[in-house]
């Protein structure tokens, strides 16, 4: 069983009953090309390339390419249910796959929010029915309707398939509720994934507090909106010992707080959205709404601190913060455009620029998108590409020129500055690199990267 999408951008094949060999591919930590044989969706052998003669099985030539375990996205939005004019599980899970992800944690800020088993089952069902496509894992809404008042049925939601609970971008204002939520979640060893933002400070803002917002007359979000909230989360974590993952850190001062909390032995991890490692508030000049992000792009110093934090290990992981939108969401004066960037179609070429700016090598970087998220999800980490294991990996061509056409992105949203500006104008190196092949949950998907 196989199929090709209407724009001829990818071709998907079921692995059930099939034998397939990916030849000449480079694995992490090994400079010798390998042949990976996949039988019935599982890796049956990994051999030095060419040492075993393939007997009449289908081969895919991957010489010069790298294979990595399927990445895990710690924060994304598929917009389903309820916001399907912006995207859906079918489109976004395929787009995620093209970015190297095979597992995607989805924000609970759907309509309705992910606060009932019915919604979890709907998402799971839709995800299972996508041919290929990254596995979509819904996060539980920590409170009913994300209203910050009444706790969701966390134990029930965990049993239904939500390994993590989150408040999306809606802070819990009532400290008693937040304290209680942490205690309750920790009873079931359920990690919380929370974004540090104050419920009042900067709540009407749409840009980092600084000279750029002052000149543009935009309402602002000060760094203190993040650090005040973060300090509160850290203190409550210290008291409740809940496993706490701080989602999408944006400032140098926030990183200092997290560094201290980790040094004190608290069970805290954190991530950064990929775009925050590249973009800063200066890019908003001229009211460019493609840079409107709920977690604002801050100063050049903050960006440098985020890059340093990634290489030093204060930042544990990188997420996409993928937020696809319909075109109308961006057709308004800047403050009333809907915030968020669609990340997936440009994710891999951006990721491949991180070694140059952080000093981390690519293998170490890929671990931050696999091992750490796997720990948070309570999955077994390890190499992920091993004999006997399910085929759950992707093949990366680092050198192919990335030429995304905004009119035919795989994501339903093309709301990204790179759809409007060329890389050089954004102080980026030329965009290179693409996932050419991905194995996920019994499917092989080949991406036509030159189409």
């Amino acid at each position: 069983m196989s199929s090709t999408d209407s724009n001829n951008r990818l071709h998907t094949t079921a692995l059930s009953g099939q034998t397939l060999c990916v030849t000449g591919v480079l694995l992490p930590g090994n400079e010798q090309p390998q042949d990976i044989t996949i039988v019935d969706g599982a890796i049956s052998s990994i051999d030095a390339s060419g040492t075993r003669t393939a007997d009449n099985i289908e081969t895919i030539d991957a010489h010069g390419c790298h294979a990595y375990p399927g990445l895990i996205d710690l924060y994304s939005r598929c917009r389903e249910p309820g916001l399907t004019r912006k995207g859906n599980i079918a489109t976004e899970s395929i787009a995620a796959l093209s970015a190297g992800f095979t597992t995607v944690l989805c924000s609970p800020d759907t309509l309705p929010a992910v606060d009932s088993v019915a919604t979890v089952e709907l998402i799971n069902h839709r995800s299972m029915n996508v041919r290929g496509g990254a596995r979509i894992i819904p996060m539980a809404a920590l409170t009913i309707g994300l209203d910050g008042e009444q706790l969701s049925e966390l134990a029930t939601l965990k049993a239904a398939g939500c390994p993590v609970a989150s408040q999306a971008d809606r802070p819990i204002e009532n400290t008693t509720v937040l304290y209680s939520a942490m205690e309750y979640a920790s009873s079931f060893d359920m990690p919380l994934l929370l974004c540090a933002r104050d419920a009042q400070l900067g709540v009407d803002g749409c840009a980092h507090t600084g000279a750029v917002a002052t000149q543009l007359g935009l309402p602002t979000i000060p760094v203190a909106a993040e650090t005040v909230a973060l300090t509160r989360l850290v203190e409550l974590c210290s008291e409740t010992q809940v496993r706490l993952h701080i989602s999408r850190v944006s400032s140098a001062r926030a990183l200092r707080i997290i560094k201290d909390a980790k040094a004190a032995g608290l069970p805290i991890t954190c991530d950064v959205g990929i775009h925050h490692l590249f973009f800063i508030d200066e890019y908003l000049a001229g009211y460019d709404a493609s840079f409107h992000s709920a977690v604002p792009f801050r100063s050049a110093d903050d960006r440098q601190a985020l890059r340093d934090g990634l290489s030093s290990g204060v930042i544990d992981a990188v997420c996409s913060d993928h937020a696809p939108h319909d075109v109308d969401a961006g057709l308004a004066p800047f403050p009333v455009t809907e915030p968020g960037l669609a990340a997936y179609d440009w994710f891999m070429p951006l990721l491949l620029q991180l070694p140059q700016i952080t000093g981390l090598d690519l293998d170490a970087l890929m671990k931050k998108l696999h091992d750490v998220p796997a720990d948070i999800l309570g999955q077994q980490s390890g190499s992920g590409i091993s004999v006997g294991g399910a085929a759950n990996f992707f093949v990366l061509d680092k050198h192919v020129t990335c030429n995304v056409q905004p009119s035919i992105t795989l994501s339903a949203g093309s709301n990204n500055p790179l759809a409007l500006h060329d890389a050089k104008a954004l102080s980026l190196s030329p965009l290179k690199g693409a996932v050419t092949l991905s194995f996920c949950d019994g499917w092989a998907t080949r991406f036509n990267v030159n189409s």
Partner: protein, 337 residues
């Protein structure tokens, strides 16, 4: 990197008038000189010139305004344009129509120029980027960002009284943070080379990194007023008392109100200005607003000449552009957007 300035057309001339930032001293001076020529029109028997005859100007006010709208209306009429006043505060937007849809409908009314006021910063930029190429946009105030014709009429008033800008010390008092007038005044004065621009107010009313706009920041009004040639008092909105920005209008007057005693700290010939409407006894004493140094009502009068200048220059550029388009027989219209 940033998006291109939407004010300029392909020929590099001003197609829209949205933001003083990005304009040069020559452009501003040309507007002031043109406005100078229009000031005499009030003394004529027939207060009209035919520069915009046959053109239709639409006032699109998405936010309430009486003064600015009236001044634009009068300016358009004196230029012999037809003027439409479209009240958008209570109509389309409240019915859920998007700004872009509203714009398309108004384009279909075959107007030549839109005067736009909107509560969101950046609204005029947005409209200029999306409007049909034959329409000119003049920003009548967008959120907290810009009110360029107010900025121009303020520097016009100052030039009339003081001549040269280079030796002037201008003090702007009060709510700088939320004021589009302050931002446009600062821009206009800086571009025209004013000697020193000071801003003064409590930190709650001062935007972050305001020094980046080439101003000196003061928190004491008494200190700021020393040596001032021009004093611009800004309106304090009543809602500032609600969200813990300022404790009360009484305290504001005691600390930042322009009283006769404080005015005496400035140079004896200092001008007193205010964009209106004034809150007497809040940001300015009634006796100062009505006093000999006040030019507040002159500002209103000059506002008409300045807006006539802006409208005629913009429309002139646009007509020249259309003429060249026809003569070159090019088909650049759609491609420009």
């Amino acid at each position: 990197m940033s998006l291109p300035d939407p004010q300029f057309n392909a020929a590099g001339t001003l197609q829209h008038f949205i933001d003083l930032q990005g304009l040069d001293a020559d452009t501003l001076t040309r507007i002031l000189d043109t406005a100078e020529g229009f000031t005499g029109i009030n003394d004529r028997k027939i207060k009209q010139v035919p520069l915009l005859r046959g053109k239709t100007v639409a006032n699109l006010f998405f936010e309430n305004s009486t003064r600015t709208r009236t001044a634009f209306e009068l300016a358009a009429k004196r230029l012999s344009a037809d003027i439409l006043n479209i009240d958008l505060v209570t109509s389309s937007t409240s019915k859920g129509e998007s700004l872009l849809d509203t714009l398309r409908v108004l384009e279909s009314l075959q107007c030549d120029m839109f005067i736009v006021r909107h509560a969101d910063s950046g609204a005029a930029h947005f409209i200029a980027r999306h409007v049909a190429p034959h329409i000119n946009i003049i920003n009548g105030g967008d959120g907290q960002h810009s009110h360029p014709t107010q900025g121009m009429l303020d520097v016009f008033t100052i030039r009339r009284h003081k001549g040269d800008f280079s030796n002037l010390c201008v003090v702007i008092i009060g709510d700088i943070k939320h004021s589009r007038v302050a931002r446009s005044d600062i821009a206009a004065l800086t571009i025209l080379g004013a000697g020193e621009v000071r801003v003064v107010g409590p930190k709650t009313l001062m935007p972050s990194d305001v020094e980046s706009m080439n101003v000196k920041v003061f928190s004491s009004l008494d200190t700021a007023l020393k040596g001032a040639d021009v004093i611009i008092s800004l309106r304090l909105q009543k809602e500032r008392m609600k969200n813990a920005t300022v404790p009360s209008s009484g305290e504001f007057y005691r600390t930042y109100g322009l009283s006769p005693q404080r005015l005496a700290l400035a140079k004896p010939d200092a001008l007193v200005m205010h964009p209106g409407p004034t809150n007497r006894g809040v940001e300015i004493a009634g006796s100062v607003a009505d006093g000999a140094q006040s030019v507040i009502l002159e500002q209103v009068t000059y506002g008409i000449a300045v807006r006539m200048a802006v409208m005629s220059i913009i429309m002139g550029n646009s007509d020249a552009m259309s003429a060249s388009r026809i003569s070159n027989n090019t088909t650049t219209t759609d491609a420009q957007l």
